[in-house]
């Protein structure tokens, strides 16, 4: 096994010892890491627990799982945002929003030092404002509505993942329990009526309207009385209303709305107020009153398919890995698997004691979230996290958590295969955030064409030599465990090359070595998976020379943060005539960025990672 230590943080090293000790055979080594953030019901506290996926039936795994604890202002509702790099803790009753770096954000561009499966970390900046409530994470933006503030705050997800909390205010005409969400080039906001209300009574909500970022209307109000519970799937946003479910989608000339009215055959007097959106097929799962679910299809008839639950719903979730499935926990303590295509319950199992839905909505009751092949459930009265197999609905393990574990969010490996395609065409797709960190299943790896690397590329080594990259070493030293000089020295070895430019067109790679072009034609020669000391992995995509100059290397091996077809935005290249020996090369990794990028852009790009 290839062990690569340089640049790994102290945390990564600890994890390699404890959590990934079984990585002796990387053919069978599906390293998977899920990190559960749990909020206590009573105490202002978030506990973070690492789950390990023991997926080869190992016996008696003892739990020396890593845990961390963070203080907050009050009770939290947790959201994994910015591709799982950050967890937001919204504290509606205490007017605060804390953010945590999940620690699994790492951008594993190559086989070198940016490996940091780090501790989760509180971001020092805390947002405060009157009753923050709904949080929307879509299109690279994180938007928090302040229900008593009359505004929302918009954060950039990418900046947030670097700990930068820089909210932009989006004003609303009246404070209300609503949400704001980006859709195409517009901002959709719920709109409240101006009817006066007594005391703490909730402000009536009229519907949804498009605005520009400063809060000026950009379209007419789409009526959706008492609008609540927004979700995205495919090209659509959907929200529940008294009349039905309102859908909105970006159109060439703004936003196109459609009200899907509740059909007559649904039980009367109920509505949809909470929706979940599938990431794989364009479909929503919503509640319909307390004892029903509806599968909502924004395009095809029937728009609603009803699933009756045997008891009232406590919580529900969709399975990103098996997109036809959802899971719902009912108050009798039974977990049900729901097939969204058949619109029926396909399996049920008792997983906890009963938790009656009588009483306040915010009484301590279990919450569920997906973690790959498992469902993680908080069990507040038992003081436990229960890890339940999604396939069998059998309990796999329990983890004790002090206090009353309540709301939760899970980040980490999930097995979602949705890379570089789908509804989010804004900017380049980073694909699955877990792949970024080098945590993925073998089944997610796919052959890649040379065209992923097509283009005109420049070495960054000259920028290291002339000092342009110095801010990058400062930045790394501030964040990491080494000094500026140590980082510079490491990258001096890493980046060193006399091939200052590479062009790739079709199967032709031209290396410009000290100004002289050397050409070769290359054919795909498979990929190799390397496992690093931290337990995460990288994939080398290898091409071998079919013809060309004698001086052109027999093999080139690309490493970037992708594991399946997607255009590279930069890469590390290894070349030589011995395929196997190249795989052992871990200190020199010449690195190339598009020739069109200026030095400043490259510095920015590096600082951003």
């Amino acid at each position: 096994m290839l062990r690569y230590l340089a640049g790994a943080t102290a945390m990564a090293l600890i994890m390699s010892g404890a959590a990934f000790a079984q990585d002796h055979d990387h053919d069978h080594d599906n390293v998977t890491l899920y990190r559960v953030f749990v909020g206590d019901h009573a105490e202002p506290r978030v506990t973070v627990i690492d789950l390990q996926n023991h997926d080869h039936g190992e016996e008696g795994h003892d739990h020396d799982d890593e845990t961390w604890t963070f203080d907050t202002t009050g009770q939290v509702k947790l959201f994994g945002v910015a591709n799982g790099a950050v967890v937001a803790a919204v504290q509606s009753d205490d007017d605060a929003v804390h953010f945590f770096k999940s620690g699994i954000e790492l951008h594993n561009h190559g086989d070198h030092s940016d490996i940091e499966i780090a501790d989760p970390e509180a971001i020092p900046t805390v947002l405060t404002g009157p009753r923050p409530f709904h949080l929307v994470d879509h299109g690279g933006k994180v938007v928090i509505n302040y229900d008593k503030g009359g505004y929302a705050e918009i954060l950039d997800g990418h900046h947030l993942s670097h700990g930068e909390v820089e909210p932009v205010k989006f004003p609303q005409s009246r404070a209300h329990h609503g949400f704001v969400a980006p859709l195409g080039s517009a901002w959709l906001s719920t709109v409240a009526s101006d009817t006066p209300v007594e005391g703490d009574a909730s402000v009536p909500r009229l519907g949804l309207q498009a605005f520009i970022e400063d809060g000026k209307p950009a379209g007419d109000l789409a009526t959706c009385t008492a609008i609540h519970g927004e979700a995205f799937s495919g090209a659509y946003l959907a929200a529940g209303c008294r009349e039905g479910v309102l859908t909105a989608t970006a159109a060439a000339d703004g936003v196109s709305y459609k009200m899907l009215e509740y059909p007559a055959e649904l039980p009367t007097g109920e509505t949809t107020g909470t929706l979940l959106g599938s990431t794989a097929i364009q479909v929503f799962l919503g509640n319909y009153g307390p004892k029903g679910l509806v599968v909502v299809d924004p395009v095809d008839a029937p728009s609603f398919r009803y699933i009756e639950l045997p008891f009232r719903r406590v919580d529900f979730a969709l399975d990103p890995a098996k997109p036809a499935n959802g899971y719902v926990l009912t108050e009798d303590g039974t977990l049900h698997r729901v097939d969204l295509l058949k619109a029926e319950i396909t399996a049920s199992a008792k997983v906890t004691e009963a938790y009656s839905m009588d009483g306040h909505w915010n009484d301590p009751r279990p919450r569920i979230a997906m973690a790959g092949d498992n469902i993680v459930m908080t069990d507040p009265n038992a003081g436990l996290l229960r890890v339940i197999s999604a396939e069998t609905l059998e309990e796999q393990e329990t983890i004790q958590v002090e206090g009353k574990p309540y709301n939760l969010a899970v980040v980490g490996g999930s097995g979602v295969v949705h890379e570089g395609e789908g509804h989010d065409h804004a900017g380049h797709s980073h694909g699955d955030p877990k792949i970024y960190t080098g945590i993925f299943e073998d089944s997610q790896i796919a052959d890649r064409p040379l065209s992923d690397y097509a283009g005109d590329w420049q070495s960054v080594y000259p920028f290291l030599q002339d000092g342009t990259l110095d801010p990058v070493w400062d930045h790394k030293a501030a964040k990491g465990s080494k000094s500026v000089e140590e980082y510079r020295a490491e990258y001096e070895t890493g980046y060193r090359t006399d091939v200052e430019r590479i062009t790739i067109e079709g199967d032709l790679i031209t290396f410009y070595q000290n100004g002289e072009p050397i050409e070769g034609r290359y054919a795909y020669d498979g990929y190799e998976v390397l496992t690093y000391a931290a337990g995460n992995r990288g994939v080398r995509f290898i091409f071998s020379k079919t013809e060309g100059d004698e001086a052109a290397p027999q093999f080139v091996q690309f490493s970037d943060h992708g594991i399946a077809p997607a255009k590279a935005d930069h890469y590390h290249l290894y070349w030589g005539n011995d395929r196997a020996a190249l795989l052992e090369e871990v200190t020199n990794w010449p690195t190339y960025y598009p020739s069109t990028l200026k030095a400043d852009d490259i510095v920015k790009e590096m600082l951003a990672h």
Partner: protein, 308 residues
């Protein structure tokens, strides 16, 4: 390929096991309208066909629906183009859990590489890069259409041995029509003056047509980001239009015309009509079948280049 064969065997077993099931039609899902038309020609009334991405729709930005997953679940055979044309297909297959034979119809075809590692689509005025090592628009040459048809006949024969003779006969009859179409397009192009061979399109979907018939297509290329789509590139294209003496600009049924109107205004060329690239037209339109589509495209192009 091995995987599909295994599935095929499973299908046959199921079919025989069901006994009377052979009286039932083959359930076929085609990923988009052009493949759907080929399937209709080969399958005739022995198949029930569901087309996922319908007329005038762009497969690249398609969002699969629950009904699609359900159709896949029921399907015996799923026909796809491959070459990364249908980006939604893998997750749809995963969602449906289908056990149908999934056939990639461009398998074994002599495909062209994408020079820049992909091509651009223009949706709601934005450029969207469609990455892929090979140009997926193989149906734009009639010679390739014959390969699609032969592949479909093979897949149908594997799935429904009893109908095989019918499928082969249908394919043969249709292939004769394709041969006639191919000859007609060549004759039309040959009649053009030698210096009138270049037109402009928004989306570079006609490289197989270009290779087969010698009409040169210009399109905006090499755009690095959506937002920059791009002043710079349009300028380069305008220069190319002047240098090559391009004769006309064509809109496309799957794209909006905003970008083309800009190119037309800046180059002084006129918008000479609509070409059908990645989808057929609706039944009442000028290109409801593959034969009609190719006749329409070739006719529009040659008319625009001969009239001047």
């Amino acid at each position: 390929m091995t995987r599909w064969l295994i599935h095929t065997v499973a299908c046959i077993v199921i079919t025989f096991g069901a006994g009377a099931a052979q009286a039932e039609n083959l359930n076929v899902v085609a990923s988009f309208s052009i493949i759907g038309d080929f399937a209709t020609e080969v399958g005739g009334d022995r198949i029930n066909l569901k087309v996922l991405v319908g007329p005038d729709s762009d497969s690249h930005v398609y969002e699969p629906r629950p009904a699609d997953a359900m159709a896949l679940m029921r399907a015996n055979v799923v026909l796809t183009n491959g070459l990364e044309f249908e980006g939604f297909m893998d997750r749809l297959i995963a969602a449906s859990g289908t056990e149908a034979t999934v056939a990639t119809l461009t398998d074994g075809m002599d495909t062209m590489e994408e020079p820049g590692g992909g091509h651009y689509h223009y949706v709601n005025g934005e450029a969207i890069f469609h990455a892929g090592a090979h140009d997926p628009h193989a149906w734009q040459s009639v010679a390739n259409a014959k390969v699609y048809v032969a592949n479909i006949a093979d897949v149908f024969c594997d799935a429904d041995a009893e109908g095989c003779q019918t499928y082969r006969a249908n394919a043969e009859r249709y292939t004769a029509k394709l041969d006639a179409l191919d000859a007609a397009i060549r004759a039309d192009v040959a009649a053009l003056p030698n210096d009138r061979r270049t037109v402009v399109v928004a989306h570079n979907a006609f490289r197989y047509f270009e290779q087969a018939y010698g009409i040169h297509f210009l399109s905006p290329q090499g755009v690095s980001t959506e937002s920059e789509a791009a002043a710079a590139d349009v300028a380069g294209l305008i220069r190319q239009i002047r240098d090559t003496g391009a004769g006309a600009i064509f809109a496309e049924n799957i794209s909006d015309t905003r970008l083309l109107e800009r190119i037309a205004a800046e180059s002084g060329l006129r918008l000479a009509g609509t070409l059908y690239s990645d989808a057929l037209s609706a039944p009442g339109g000028p290109a409801p079948t593959y034969l009609a589509m190719m006749r329409h495209n070739a006719g529009a192009i040659t008319a625009s280049l001969s009239s001047h």
